[in-house]
């Protein structure tokens, strides 16, 4: 293996994935260095979820290779994953869902620990509730708390904030941006929102329509720490990046050509 990719948390090498005779994604080649916050943007159905599932080890590439931390990814080892749907276990309470994740990681899963994790995603007094007794946005936040329970070096998030109200979304975006900067975890984050992409990402990759390929690969040169979110959004560099990503999302083929 080349020495420079040893520091890479994720390496996609000419990855293609087909479902039956439908090519969902690829070929895509991407190196994600450790600590990077990579955001994938692209039209619906372009293969973003498929890419995340490949990195998580739930799918095997039809062609090319996927490496996470230098090895072929295995689900549940080294990567936390937030699916596009909450996928909570209805036979467990909200708190029980989070506790289960802690248990699998061999960590203490007492009440305080669980409530602390829930509080981190802005949920209070819901630990005893049944999963169907909370709103869709709250369910998604529980799913995030569940994925955050374990300190995996890699965090994969598939449109985690799509079902949230604007206020909560902004709060969680800020939270995630801060946490990722502080902990230096590698993140791969999927979204439809250009604004969210530029705000969160240290690098934004825009995909073409199906089969998804890289249309734009843009490093975001914005300060990651010590800056107020509103101030950040007001920076000219922020607006410039947003315009560039927005153009690529609207005309991905043009950028590719």
């Amino acid at each position: 293996m080349p020495s420079d990719s040893e520091a890479d948390a994720v390496v996609l090498d000419a990855v293609t994935h087909t479902y039956g005779d439908v090519t969902a994604v690829g070929p895509v080649s991407l190196n994600v260095p450790a600590g990077e916050f990579l955001v994938l943007v692209g039209a619906s159905g372009c293969g973003k979820s498929t890419l995340l599932r490949l990195i998580a080890g739930f799918e095997q590439p039809t062609a090319g290779s996927v490496l996470a931390a230098g090895v072929r990814p295995v689900p549940g080892r080294g990567a936390g994953l937030v699916f596009q749907q909450p996928r909570l276990f209805p036979w467990r309470t909200v708190g029980g869902n989070v506790a289960l994740a802690l248990r699998y990681a061999g960590q203490p899963y007492g009440r305080e620990r669980v409530e602390g994790l829930l509080a981190r995603v802005g949920l209070h007094d819901v630990a005893h509730r049944r999963t169907w007794q909370i709103s869709g946005g709250q369910q998604q936040r529980v799913a995030i708390a569940r994925a955050l329970a374990v300190d995996n070096p890699l965090l994969l998030l598939d449109e985690p904030f799509a079902a949230l109200d604007a206020l909560t979304r902004e709060r969680l975006q800020e939270d995630l941006r801060r946490v990722s900067a502080e902990t230096g975890r590698t993140c791969v984050f999927v979204t439809h929102s250009v604004d969210e992409a530029v705000f969160l990402g240290s690098r934004v990759v825009v995909l073409t329509p199906r089969p998804g390929r890289v249309a734009l690969d843009l490093p975001i040169e914005l300060p990651r720490t010590g800056i107020d979110p509103d101030e950040l959004r007001g920076l000219p560099a922020f607006a410039a990046a947003r315009a560039q990503v927005g153009a690529a999302v609207r005309h991905p083929e043009g950028v590719l050509a």
Partner: protein, 282 residues
């Protein structure tokens, strides 16, 4: 065995029956009471007009037998030396033991069938075959093998109770929701943990339906099993009463079986609601 003719859909929300609007509930109870009274009246009238207690005993005669079989009179204890409640107790004990063995066996078998393909391929026809047999058909075999005491009866009930649970468990395990299994794997669950924490809980509602059917099958088989050396036991009591044309005792035995069956199914339903609050949510 089901307490009512209306079969509850599996997806019914928990507490759906209790959540009925109070007036509707009241009307239902009232309707049932009226139906009971009408049935009772019909019975009374038929018994009187036929005036043939061996053919149709009157409600009064059955009631009288309830008192006679539940007490010691002229030095005779109940019926055939046992009180009615003792007959019933022995039968219920057989049902309990047989059902527990059958349910546990069915659960294990169903789990294995649902997870290991070749075992499913091999055992599925066997289970379906046994399920199709009337329990009485293999009872003779058990008598040849195990004699006429408790052993063949318990074998019969266990074997009769096993297939419904095995089939329900296997199908539920096979239908495990990929999304949730993946979610557990993503959280770091190993294969066994995924089975314990996702596949099994997801299967529980269906398994419970299987258990209710199994207990029902055991219930209906016990009377058959007790036709041979079945005293004490409700089936043995009914069998003896039939020999001596004591139709009132036969009818009393039917009531004892039917009513205790209703009670047990109601208990199972309550247990189901408490144990599986997520029924219909997964």
């Amino acid at each position: 065995m089901s307490t009512s003719l209306e079969t509850r859909p599996v997806t019914a929300t928990p507490g759906a029956t209790t959540a009925l609007a109070p007036p509707r509930r009241k009307r239902r109870i009232l309707l049932r009471l009226v139906a009971l009274v009408v049935l009772y009246a019909l019975w009374e009238i038929t018994a009187r007009t036929m005036n043939n207690p061996t053919f149709i005993p009157s409600p009064g005669a059955v009631w009288h037998q309830l008192i006679v079989t539940s007490s010691v009179h002229d030095g005779v204890r109940g019926y055939s030396g046992h009180l009615l409640i003792e007959h019933l107790g022995v039968s219920l004990r057989r049902i309990l033991i047989g059902s527990v063995i059958g349910v546990v066996g069915g659960l294990v078998l169903g789990l294995v069938m649902g997870t290991v393909t070749w075992i499913r391929v091999v055992t599925e026809p066997v289970v379906t075959f046994i399920r199709a047999l009337p329990p009485l058909a293999y009872f003779s075999l058990f008598i040849i093998w195990f004699g006429i005491d408790e052993t063949p009866k318990l074998w019969l009930l266990s074997i009769a109770a096993l297939p419904p649970v095995a089939v329900a468990t296997a199908s539920a395990v096979l239908g495990a929701p990929t999304g949730l299994v993946e979610a557990s794997r993503a959280l770091g669950a190993n294969k066994w943990q995924a089975v314990r924490d996702v596949v099994l809980p997801h299967a529980l509602p269906e398994i419970f339906t299987g258990v209710r059917i199994a207990v029902g099958v055991a219930y209906s088989s016990v009377v058959a099993a007790e036709t041979i050396n079945g005293v004490p036991g409700i089936g043995g009591m009914v069998r003896d009463a039939q020999r001596y044309s004591q139709t009132d005792v036969v009818v009393l035995g039917l009531f004892a079986i039917g009513l205790s069956g209703l009670l047990i199914d109601a208990l199972l339903q309550v247990a189901e609601k408490r144990l599986i609050p997520w029924r219909g949510r997964a």
